[in-house]
Symmetry: C2
């Protein structure tokens, strides 16, 4: 039973001249398959890949063949993770992209990490990474393949009681966790719930789940601001959670010296999004 497909065929190798291998010239999406074998937010993931490709300067749309492979594979692997990676394909020496690239599509299946369920149930603790993200507006928000910053972040050992890294940009502003987006929450003087999530205009990955969470929070009556968020906001909010496509949303109960209560709306949010693990 194969679990990797390259351009629609079971395979475990790619061309050594592939530009993802030589320059990280591509992007990817990580998608959750639900218990019924359907890919959650599939159209959003595909649209984000199309948009990301356009920002990198190439055109990509999912073919019927790929859509069939995605849905068939999801049906065979309920409660798994599907990763779809796109690369600008084979190129020659030199950075200049080919004018008519033949896009490489790689689909792979892996289990959803088992600890995500306990994370959802118990919440997690974050620790700020000493590795800060460079500010590059031209690549900000894209889930591209230039991931050395994340590799460096994950190459350090977390303190024993911590679960993930909190990551800032080189100005010290909050961006994300090592692999998820951030939402900060508090009640204003009128008992109105307010949520902040860092704007992704300088760095960070704008997650598909982040967008779903924003829309669902709005539908729940929460005010949401997508804005630059300074680190000291951690001292001014009562709740913090992270989101991504695999873990859904997970409450953060501590970040460095700050402590947070589980957000009372988290269970409802997950139910509305159908992302309970």
């Amino acid at each position: 039973m194969g679990s990797v497909w390259v351009n629609g065929k079971p395979a475990d190798t790619i061309d050594v001249r592939d530009r993802a291998f030589t320059y990280g010239d591509g992007l990817f999406a990580t998608m959750a398959v639900d218990g019924a074998g359907a890919i959650q937010f599939l159209s959003c993931h595909l649209q984000r890949l199309t948009d990301g490709a356009a920002r990198l300067g190439f055109s990509w749309q999912p073919s019927e063949t790929l859509l069939t492979l995605l849905t068939d594979t999801a049906g065979r692997f309920p409660r798994h993770c599907l990763k779809l990676q796109l690369s600008r394909g084979v190129g020659g020496r030199g950075y200049a992209p080919p004018t008519a690239p033949q896009i490489t599509e790689v689909l792979s299946v892996s289990p959803i990490p088992v600890h995500y369920t306990s994370w959802q149930q118990q919440g997690i603790k974050l620790q700020t990474s000493t590795v800060q993200l460079a500010k590059q507006p031209l690549l900000a928000g894209i889930k591209h393949l230039n991931r050395l910053e994340q590799v460096l972040i994950k190459s350090y050992a977390l303190d024993e009681d911590c679960d993930d890294w909190l990551v800032c940009d080189t100005d010290g502003w909050l961006v994300e966790s090592s692999m998820a987006n951030l939402f900060l929450l508090f009640q204003d003087e009128n008992d109105q719930w307010q949520a902040l999530t860092p704007a992704m205009n300088n760095c960070g990955v704008s997650g598909v789940m982040r967008q779903q969470v924003i829309m669902t929070l709005l539908a729940m009556g929460v005010h949401v601001q997508v804005v630059p968020v300074t680190y000291d906001w951690l001292a001014r909010v009562s709740h913090l959670f992270i989101s991504n496509s695999l873990l859904g949303t997970v409450d953060v109960i501590a970040a460095d010296s700050y402590h947070f209560a589980v957000w009372p709306g988290s269970a409802q949010l997950r139910e509305n999004l159908a992302i309970q693990l």
Copy 2:
């Protein structure tokens, strides 16, 4: 006659789980083979790969087998380019690097671009790119595989009479050309030659040829400063040249609206470095 080797064996594919393919997790060197079939500055290239790997968090030394492959290949391909790419090897899902990575080594051969000879003879014109380099001290100077910024730079069309891009960082300071380092020269009030080359502490690639040029300029009695260089220095210097391992040094005769004379010391510099094309 093969021209690509993966881990010492002729091959044209790599594992789809290779971390260079998934995250750009690796680095590379581009080396010139001289007319006698010897690799120019080989030990410097290998040392820089070792140093770069250490900064990315893995250990690498060239094996005897690799050294033999390098020298044998160079002997068969005089006046060619050898590219040696290292990756942190096969990994699982997730950014965290394997604790005991099996490094992938890819060696490939290609011709040295023919236009480099006329560039050396006639000089070139540069045009400033609208794509600016993000400031990431943790990756600065390393010839790593996260090259989307360079891909974006090269995806634009140069003005018809221009040959390469001049690239600044996001503060607008001079860094490099799209694929070579910069040297700015002028004579001070005592007729002493002064050279400036941008410091690589925030971004850019610190080239092996750059280091050779610095040492050779010093030996020629030129004062060399490795410093941050603002864009307006272009208005204050009389000469400008670029350097990399394949093109040696090439005089820049114009950059945007600035014009420069060929540096009178260029021929001597190339002779001292044995990099005349």
